[in-house]
């Protein structure tokens, strides 16, 4: 036990730490965003086309559900540990481990979004003479936007929030401070933790803004705010 009692003093110290070391914290935060961005980029490049394609052809719902269950069941620490033993310490192993974490929500929601588009609407578009690609681009994707973006947002926040754990495997970022109490003491650890919280809440809010902006006007409103986890497993 280091300190048991409620200790407001530590928080004052933590805030002072933030005030005293803005440069270090900003550098570490940028490092963390870089790692997160790279991981999210890989996940998007793989999972988005796959999910959209599977949804378009209404095939592979098992894969989408499996991805959401396995994505949740794989703990970040385990992924980071396993990738570390395979690829060694550094940026790449953490990027890949975080990318795997981000794949689940992106894939599942891309699939659900496109797969869930009303078949009558697609039929009507076909009746109007639209080609497959046109149907995908002008009907299915716009209607899938809210779910699709929710998946991306969940993935992004998961990655940013998990990135500090990667510090244990040389991932850098604010986690470097959090896992190194010996050098930064408890106030440094808590200061960095507060920054991590602000960072992931910030990412969530920014992406929510992007989502609202990217959603076709008639679809805005209640559906955009549906933050409930994917509904697939519920039915």
């Amino acid at each position: 036990m280091i300190c048991d009692a409620a200790n407001a003093h530590t928080f004052v110290e933590a805030l002072r730490f933030i005030g005293d070391h803005p440069g270090v914290l900003a550098t570490k935060a940028l490092e963390q965003l870089e790692l997160s961005g790279a991981a999210l980029g890989i996940a998007l490049a793989v999972a988005l086309p796959l999910g959209v394609a599977l949804g378009h052809f209404h095939k592979g719902s098992g894969l989408a559900i499996g991805a959401s269950i396995f994505g949740r069941a794989l703990p970040s620490l385990v992924l980071i540990g396993v990738f570390l033993t395979v690829l060694g310490i550094g940026f790449v192993n953490n990027m890949l481990a975080l990318a795997v974490l981000a794949t689940g929500p992106v894939l599942t929601n891309a699939f659900d979004g496109v797969d869930g588009v009303d078949r009558d609407v697609v039929e009507a578009a076909r009746g109007m003479g639209m080609a497959r690609v046109q149907i995908l681009r002008r009907v299915e994707l716009p209607l899938a936007t809210p779910l699709l973006f929710t998946g991306i947002r969940v993935a992004a926040v998961t990655v940013v929030a998990t990135a500090p754990v990667a510090a244990i495997a040389g991932g850098g970022g604010l986690g470097d401070i959090i896992v190194n109490q010996a050098s930064y003491r408890l106030e440094g650890v808590i200061g960095a933790s507060l920054c991590v919280m602000a960072l992931s809440a910030g990412v969530w809010l920014v992406l929510l803004g992007v989502q609202v902006a990217a959603t076709p006007k008639p679809l805005r409103g209640a559906r955009v705010m549906e933050i409930v986890e994917p509904r697939k497993e519920m039915a």
Binding site: C3, A73, P75, L77, T85, T162, V228
Partner: protein
């Protein structure tokens, strides 16, 4: 980062050639250390999860019943819940340390919070799953509000509630590994220790990692079976 108690560090100096050579997977090590390293951590992990989901479910259920008929409140709570879910586990564990020390309470508060945030929207959605004409019929049969809830809405909500429980349990098992950053708690601890070796000890990482994933999938399977037992009519066409 602090580690309480005496860490159980695999001894590279002695042991089988497999262990000293840090081969991919040493069954011998797993057998030898099941009793002192893996099994106690597995039990802890199960305890952490059950407490978190149990308390989270009780609170979420009460909240859902309270707000069942007030849609506006539900939107607000939904938004708050989503924001709560963005709080990184590692950060919130550390932030609670000055208040509760390196205790189970420090670990359970965020775990309860996360499961609550997952369960609440699912329970609310479940309570709303009853089709309007069914409710109408129940009322026409003379059911009171409480009876409608207990005999129509709640049974129809079971699939959604169990769906929420599946997500909550699997997520909690996964997040509970991060509790290891606060000391000897759960299956994350052996992984963290192994990662801190100059050369990460592979067998320990793999065996504990497999146990966590197996635990999550087992819990998930148990809940699926529970749903089949409770609501046999959903068996067709669902996972």
């Amino acid at each position: 980062m602090t580690v309480a108690g005496g860490p159980v560090i695999p001894n590279f100096g002695k042991g089988s050639p497999c262990v000293t050579g840090n081969h991919a997977f040493c069954w011998g090590w797993v057998r030898e250390h099941w009793g002192d390293t893996l099994q106690p951590r597995l039990v802890e992990h199960v305890e952490l999860t059950l407490i978190a989901v149990g308390i989270g479910f009780a609170i979420a259920f009460a909240l859902a019943l309270l707000t069942h008929r007030v849609r506006r409140v539900e939107h607000l709570i939904g938004l708050g819940a989503a924001l709560l879910y963005t709080i990184p586990s590692l950060a919130i564990f550390q932030i609670l340390v000055p208040f509760f020390g390196l205790t189970t309470t420090t670990v359970e508060i965020p775990l309860v919070g996360y499961s609550l945030v997952i369960l609440y929207p699912n329970i609310v959605a479940g309570l709303r799953a009853a089709p309007p004409d069914v409710l109408e019929a129940a009322r026409a049969m003379g059911f009171r509000r409480r009876q409608v809830l207990a005999r129509v809405e709640l049974p129809l909500a079971v699939p959604a509630i169990i769906g929420g429980l599946r997500i909550a349990v699997v997520s909690t098992v996964s997040i509970a590994t991060i509790a290891a950053f606060l000391g000897e708690k759960g299956l994350g601890y052996p992984i963290l220790l192994a990662l801190k070796e100059p050369t990460p000890f592979r067998t320990e990482i793999y065996s504990a990692g497999l146990l966590v994933v197996a635990l999550a999938l087992t819990c998930d399977a148990i809940l699926v079976l529970l749903r089949r037992a409770l609501v046999p009519w959903t068996r067709v066409g669902n996972t």
